[in-house]
């Protein structure tokens, strides 16, 4: 069994040595369709993204804005389901052993699948899980954490601008992998992040933990990423911006190779801006 925790840790360790930040991409499994979404992920891996978040879609995505919500609905309509998302993750791992893989989504899919069964199924495949609606106070949080721990998979914690210091202290206590610092008070893909506030929030988090802290929500353009290259974040997550590009290009172009190539170029440019 590969030491998965080590994969994410070593990605951040290596980046630190190079004085670089992690580029974390996010796409919706099954969008615009199952095959193309896999093709896109492969090309993102090829682009040199350090970590990729595979979003398993949910129709009532509480924390997501219209861009990701539409992708969710479309992919569900196009026949994605949680089994198939796990299948995609497996194929991704077979395709690329370097990239950090994170499954990201809402608890219900994992809950319905079975927490222990899920952990076993993705063991050796993914490196971390982000569960948007899984705060520390619900019973499944410790269940999932334990089940994943057995398989060396990290359960990533999100911290937002409105999270109190007291709560940050509690949240980081048993955190693993990295901390996901949410830049804006609100949902994905709507507001733009302000770099000053981002920096101060990350400082606030770093008071309490030595884990890498990545910055997400509201980072949309090459310009944004360039600004973030000077932030104190250890990495940036680009979600809605990539999904929006996929939406745009897939409306015009149905050849999955072309779509994947387009997304790859976009990510390459972002990565260049981040670590230039």
């Amino acid at each position: 069994m590969i030491n998965l925790e080590n994969r994410i840790s070593s990605i951040f360790k290596n980046l630190k040595l190079e004085n670089k930040k992690a580029f974390i991409s996010f796409t919706t499994a099954g969008f615009p369709d199952v095959d193309t979404s896999f093709e896109i992920m492969k090309s993102i891996a090829d682009s040199g993204a350090h970590i990729h978040e595979i979003s398993f879609p949910h129709a009532e995505a509480q924390a997501d804005g219209p861009i990701i919500q539409l992708a969710n609905i479309e992919s569900i309509k196009n026949g994605i389901n949680f089994d198939k998302v796990i299948g995609i993750a497996k194929e991704m791992r077979a395709y690329n052993q370097q990239i950090g893989l994170v499954m990201m989504g809402y608890l219900n899919n994992i809950f319905i699948y079975g927490i222990d069964k899920f952990a076993k199924e993705v063991s050796g495949i993914i490196d971390a899980v982000i569960c948007v609606d899984l705060p520390a106070d619900v019973v499944e949080e410790s269940q999932l954490k334990q089940a994943l721990k057995k398989e060396n998979i990290a359960l990533i914690k999100l911290i937002t601008p409105t999270t109190s210091d007291e709560r940050i202290k509690k949240l980081v206590e048993n955190a693993e992998g990295f901390i996901y610092s949410v830049n804006v008070a609100g949902i994905t893909g709507v507001k733009s992040a302000e770099i000053d506030k981002v920096n101060s929030q990350i400082s606030r988090i770093k008071q309490y933990t030595d884990l890498p802290v990545v910055s997400g929500f509201g980072i949309k353009t090459v310009e944004d990423v360039r600004k973030f290259s000077k932030s104190n974040a250890d990495g940036v997550v680009i979600g809605s911006a990539i999904v929006e590009k996929i939406q745009e290009i897939s409306k015009k172009n149905t050849d999955k190779k072309n779509i994947a190539k387009f997304v790859k170029d976009f990510c390459s440019e972002l990565i260049k801006s981040l670590n230039s």
């Binding site: 129709a59 509480q62 319905i112 609606d133 914690k157 937002t160 409105t162 949902i187």
Partner: protein, 403 residues
């Protein structure tokens, strides 16, 4: 009124993490957590503040018009020929439904918390107009989140809300094409995430902790009155209480005071095609764990439909899932046809026009009453008036009404 835990009681409410047995909880994105925690703390403070409770009771009396009667439905009783039927008259409340009990409580709580804006979700619009009215009364702007389809279907309620000064945000699902109550629920939670200065006034006993508890608390005035009134009239508790359930607020409000009175049989009646408790499975969506009608892998809710838009909801409040799991409450469903027959029967026998929602409860109560002897007592909560349903009734009856 205190929420202190009662030993061995089903009325102690959820545990500190918001669980009723296995159900409920607070499955919220981190961005919502501070809002929820602040709300929970304020709620606990408020209900232990005599001034706050006095204020709530003052407006229940003066504004909502409570207590409303526990009406002995003599004609209906005779017609059915079984148990003595009482109707709890929440249809007589200001704005014609039980929703105002809850809106009033939460708007007062918003004021108590110093909030300057109210958000609410709505399906049929009943919760919207109740919240809009309370917002007007207490000078707090209200923004209602409502599905695109519902805005079209319930235009009268939209108009009322606007007359009360509220604005309405059209909600759609991921496709951007259509939108119903669940989309309004998702949308309002998102909006609230982005604006912690706002108060989210949740319309039923659903959502992340502490909403199910808050709504139960506010609506329990129904059951408190039932208890007092039936003791005055009959000098004993009823044998059964029946209410309809969508999210479950009028039901929990009707029965909460009776949960520990184990001789009182309790019934929740769903609509056939949105019967989460009868035909659903356990899932976690929109912040809470409960029975729900969902796709196999839990990615989406199933489409539901009902004659009564107010109980056309894919899930139900978590306390109900708990009460089902321990067998304390019997959950059944009625068909649209049964409900429509019951609707007409109450009109004809008592001159009371119920909403379609409680008509599902009436349908079930009729079946129960028939099987009960004449010395038994059954209470039905008539949680809304049927003015809003008149046009649909006309379409359904067609020529049968005559010239």
């Amino acid at each position: 009124m205190s929420t202190n835990e009662i030993k061995n009681s089903l009325r102690s409410g959820p545990n500190k993490n918001g669980y009723y047995g296995d159900f409920g909880g607070r499955y919220a994105p981190e961005i919502l957590m501070p809002n929820l925690i602040q709300l929970e703390e304020a709620f606990e403070t408020a209900i232990n503040d005599k001034n706050f409770i006095d204020e709530f009771n003052y407006y229940l009396k003066e504004y909502v018009g409570r207590p409303n009667p526990l009406y002995y439905a003599e004609q209906l009783t005779k017609k059915i020929g079984g148990a003595k039927i009482y109707l709890k008259s929440d249809h007589l409340n200001h704005l014609g439904a039980h929703k105002i009990n809850n809106s009033l409580f939460q708007v007062l709580l918003a004021k108590y918390m110093g909030k300057t804006k109210i958000y609410c979700e709505t399906g049929a619009g009943a919760h919207l107009i109740a919240t809009a009215a309370c917002g007007a009364r207490f000078n707090l702007p209200v923004v209602g989140y409502m599905g695109k389809d519902d805005i079209f279907l319930q235009s009268t309620n939209v108009l009322k809300a606007k007359l009360f000064g509220a604005s309405v945000v059209e909600c759609v699902d991921g496709t951007g094409q259509k939108g119903v109550l669940k989309d309004a629920c998702t949308s309002v939670l998102k909006a609230w995430s982005s604006d912690p200065t706002a108060f989210y006034c949740c319309g039923s006993a659903i959502g992340p902790h502490p909403f199910p508890k808050i709504v139960q608390y506010a609506q329990s005035i129904i059951g408190k009155e039932i208890k007092q009134q039936i003791l005055e009239k009959e000098n004993r508790l009823p044998d059964a209480i029946v209410a309809c359930i969508g999210g479950g607020s009028n039901l929990i409000g009707s029965i909460h005071e009776f949960l520990d009175d184990h001789d009182v049989a309790l019934y929740g009646v769903e609509a056939e095609h949105s019967s989460a408790l009868t035909n659903g499975s356990i899932g976690i969506m929109q912040g809470f764990k409960s029975f729900m009608l969902q796709s196999n892998d839990g990615s989406a809710t199933l489409d539901t439909k009902s004659l009564a838009s107010g109980i056309n909801f894919y899930s139900c409040g978590p306390e109900h899932s708990y009460l089902k799991s321990i067998g304390r409450v019997s959950y059944t469903y009625a068909t649209d046809d049964e409900a429509f027959d019951a609707f007409q029967l109450l009109c004809k026998t008592e001159g009371i026009l119920p909403a379609f929602e409680p008509s599902f409860a009436i349908a079930q109560a009729i079946k129960l009453a028939k099987e009960m002897s004449e010395d038994k007592i059954i209470v039905i909560n008539i949680c809304g008036r049927g003015d809003k349903d008149i046009d649909t009734a006309e379409r359904m009856l067609g020529d049968k009404l005559g010239k």
